[in-house]
């Protein structure tokens, strides 16, 4: 994704999505945030799954107040932030609130303005988006400057990632996509999956995506979610940690 973000400039807003559910968005978002924070960057991770939040669960944090209060009561998002480790804050969302997954247009505008007033102090803002191609997914992707798309080496995941990119390209004019291939058997497989989808994107949409890297299938990822801690912190030497550190260096 070109230069890394340091210090004073306005934050780099990056949306992480996948189309298909369960391909590793939340795991990758959390550990990417942790890796950036380890590199002395200030990171805000927004739980963009506004109606079915996951980030709080995956990090074992007890959430009382969520982004819902910002939307419904105008609460200052700064008062909602939870510090996970130095430099890494989370803006939590609510779970089981379908209205939040379908914000009205006015609410979206209000949320965008409020968030933009909040994020100045960060170097990176990561959004862990919901699965699917619902309005909130498209909206967060549109709001972000950079778009990371996660896919795995399986036909449904590849098709869904392609469909999401196609929508973001044709409806929102997005041209730059950064792909991460998750759950690969080898780096070679990750590269092949990337080249495969790249060929289709080039041929039909005239888009050339960027390859951010791949993440191996690694049981430490599963264990870390169960321990409710980033794998990068609990298992710093795992293959997943090494891979995520490389990806963090590229954004």
């Amino acid at each position: 994704m070109n230069k890394s973000n340091t210090g004073n400039a306005s934050p780099k807003i990056i949306c992480i999505s996948s189309g298909k559910g369960g391909v590793g968005k939340t795991s990758i978002a959390i550990n990417l945030a942790a890796a950036l924070a380890k590199n002395s960057r200030k990171v805000l991770l927004i739980d963009g799954d506004l109606g079915l939040a996951n980030v709080d669960v995956a990090l074992g944090i007890n959430v009382r107040h969520t982004i819902r209060e910002t939307v419904e009561q105008g609460r200052d998002p700064l008062s909602l932030l939870i510090e996970i480790m130095p430099g890494f804050h989370v803006l939590p969302a609510s779970s089981g609130v379908p209205e939040m997954a379908n914000l009205s247009h006015e609410e979206q505008v209000f949320l965008a303005n409020t968030l933009e007033d909040t994020i100045d102090q960060f170097d990176y803002v990561l959004v862990d988006s919901a699965a699917g191609i619902g309005e909130s997914v498209l909206w967060f992707n549109d709001w972000s400057q950079e778009n990371i798309i996660i896919l795995s080496p399986d036909p449904t995941s590849m098709t869904d990632a392609y469909a999401l990119i196609k929508i973001l390209h044709s409806r929102y004019g997005k041209k730059r996509f950064n792909l991460v291939i998750n759950s690969v058997k080898s780096k070679k497989e990750g590269r092949e999956v990337f080249e495969g989808i790249k060929a289709v994107l080039k041929r039909f949409l005239k888009i050339e995506p960027d390859f951010l890297g791949s993440l191996p299938v690694d049981n430490h990822v599963v264990k870390a979610i169960r321990n409710q801690k980033p794998f990068l912190i609990t298992y710093p030497d795992s293959r997943a940690s090494i891979a995520i550190t490389e990806i963090a260096d590229r954004i």
Binding site: H105, A112, T159, G196
Partner: protein, 110 residues
């Protein structure tokens, strides 16, 4: 199925576009009416020369002038309508796209 954001507040929409325009090399100029209400936006590629800009504006004015005659013949669409081809289905993944995605996967598993 994805739905377009449906909204009946055009000013809010203009403000969103204006905001997005900051991320692109374009200039958004407000067109305001009576009492400063927002009637529309001009969007220009940044770095256009003055003559280029005037020529473009000239075209818009010409289209606006021709509008009263055009509308009864061709229907009521506003002069700068969204192309019809940009319909809801334009994003659907086609069979050709799928075929190529899958052809690669088949090669993989061999």
């Amino acid at each position: 199925m994805t739905s377009y954001i449906s909204c009946n507040d055009p000013e809010a929409f203009f403000r969103i576009i204006e905001k997005q325009a900051r991320h692109y090399p374009v200039e958004a100029t407000r067109i305001t009416g009576k009492e400063e209400n927002l009637c529309g936006l001009f969007l220009f590629r940044k770095g256009l020369s003055r003559p280029e800009r005037q020529k473009a504006l000239g075209r818009v004015l010409k289209m606006a002038a021709a509008e009263p005659e055009r509308a009864p013949e061709e229907g009521d669409d506003p002069i700068c309508h969204v192309p019809k081809t940009l319909g809801e289905d334009s994003c659907q993944v086609t069979t050709e796209e799928r075929a190529q995605l899958f052809s690669f996967l088949k090669r993989e598993s061999n």
